[in-house]
Amino acid sequence: MSDLLRVIGLTKKFGDFTAVDGIDFSVARGEVLGFLGPNGAGKTTAMRMVTGFLPPTGGTAIVDGFDVRTHPIEVKRKVGYLPEGAPLYDDMTPREFLTFVADVRNIDRSDRDKAIDSAADRINIQHVMHQPIGTLSKGYKRRVGIAQAILHNPDVLILDEPTDGLDPNQKHEVRKLINEMASDKVIVISTHILEEVDVVCSRAIVIANGRVVADGKPQELEARSSFHNAVSVRVSGVPDSLTDKLLALPMVEKVESSEIGDGQVSLTVFPRGPVNILETVSECLKELAVTVEQIHVERGKMDEVFRNITTSPKS
């Protein structure tokens, strides 16, 4: 098996409540897996089991051949983990803290400072290395947590909401960092920021009620959206017959329109089936001599897909 991380029938019960209900997936080197799901879906619990913090009720996770139930220490050596909320020792400075982590991870003293500096450099925390962590902003704390996770250049990197609490610039940096590291690792990130999935993930798994409800490339998930391949246009000088004309086209399923002021109208034209209707729609608009301000094909709306698959009634 070339898959660095394999999760097999992973289950966690807290009393009568099943938080994670037999999830299976494998991730190969080079993949960035987005772990999506509504709050309380079981993302964090699943990550805690994979990283050896919680013992599974059933199933297991295998990291590079080591079973987390029987070889937890070996698994923990191979994994870098940012726990939810990035808990840190507030009374230490980032340098003291990273030194501690390096010591616990048995990084040689000669390599230690280099590893710390390089992690600090990559995540941009060099100038706060000597301030107590408790006095740092939320964004810095999160980044210190990420620095701790990448310190030993792990094969498997598991980040629970890595960009939570970061400003847009910092989010961009963290996403860039994830992309840079992606080629030789398995990276699993949990998030509920859906645009993030598009930017960093090569694959997404959606879980709801402790089960995997979707697993695929972000584009495949987007293709499930009713907006997939829909054409959005913004036009002015609209004749009354426009909507009817569009609906008369054989490839058009329905048209939604809304006034947006200044005599402009925004239209979304939905195709009948998986077809590209951009050309047909634009020809139709040309015929009617409508001024087109903007026109583009929708890729699909991730949040709509997300809502559909996580709220659909369970069978």
């Binding site: 807290f14 805690r48 990283t51 050896g52 913090f53 919680l54 013992p55 220490i73 070996e74 923990k76 050596r77 994994v79 983990y81 726990p83 909320g85 808990p87 840190l88 020792y89 507030d90 009374d91 230490m92 003291e96 501690f100 982590v101 010591d103 616990v104 991870r105 048995n106 107590p132 701790q148």
Partner: protein, 244 residues
């Protein structure tokens, strides 16, 4: 071993980066001095020894040691850093032992700072320094067993105040177990050997013989068994609590 020491160093540093260490040491040394001189009658006894200090030590430790131990696990649980610590490649045993060691070293540092009293009695007379050394060892062993109990209790809760109060109560029961207060509760129904076992669990009985200068193997076994049992229980609790 490396990880145990790394954890021990971090814990020890944590004591000294917060005011806790300084407050504790100042109060510990001041109260030791006060109890030794006023209640213990260091001067009035007219003897060059440290008996007055060491006879009060178990009582000072009763509420000062739980204060050292209470944060060991409760704080990690409360702040969520337990998840961080336990997902590093650290066995629960080395985490428990590293933390315990740090607390023990810290209380050893505090105890060693009572040396001015030792200097004073040596200045004033010719004490039996062998007995004083034995007493320091007895004090250290007592601190270690109190800490093992306190650390175990701390692992049961995320509330440090509860860890302190319950820890002190458990230690108090162990101290008192040679006294009628506790024994009377058992005499009525328990077999004689059980009463004797309970009686033999008293910290005070074992401590008294060491402080008199007699380091008996049985007393050493007693203290190290207490530490062993509670450290083991500590490991079990940390593992169990994660599962729930």
């Amino acid at each position: 071993m490396g990880t145990t020491l790394a954890i021990c160093r971090r814990e020890l540093r944590a004591y000294f980066t917060t005011p806790l260490a300084y407050v504790f040491i100042v109060i510990f040394v001041a109260m030791n001095g006060a109890t030794a001189f006023f209640f213990g009658g260091l001067f009035d006894r007219g003897q060059a020894d440290m008996t007055s200090l060491f006879s009060m030590l178990p009582w000072l430790y009763l509420f000062l040691i739980p204060a050292v131990a209470m944060r060991l696990w409760a704080e990690e649980r409360k702040s969520g850093t337990l998840e961080l610590l336990m997902t590093l490649p650290v066995s629960t045993t080395s985490a428990v032992f590293g933390k315990f060691l740090a607390a023990w070293v810290f209380s050893g540092i505090a105890l060693s700072l009572t040396f001015p009293v030792w200097v004073t009695v040596n200045w004033l007379g010719n004490p039996d320094n062998g007995i004083i050394l034995a007493s320091y060892i007895g004090g250290l062993l007592m601190a270690g067993s109190y800490l093992a109990i306190g650390g175990f209790v701390s692992a049961l809760t995320k509330n440090q105040v509860i860890a302190f109060v319950v820890g002190a109560a458990v230690i108090f029961l162990f101290m008192m177990s040679s006294l009628d207060l506790i024994l009377a509760a058992f005499r009525g129904w328990a077999p004689v050997f059980l009463v004797e076992v309970i009686q033999s669990l008293s910290f005070l009985v074992h401590y008294d013989s060491i402080v008199r200068g007699v380091i008996d193997l049985r007393d050493l076994v007693f203290y190290f068994s207490i530490m062993g049992v509670f450290l083991f229980a500590n490991v079990v609790v940390v593992d169990q609590k994660r599962g729930a």
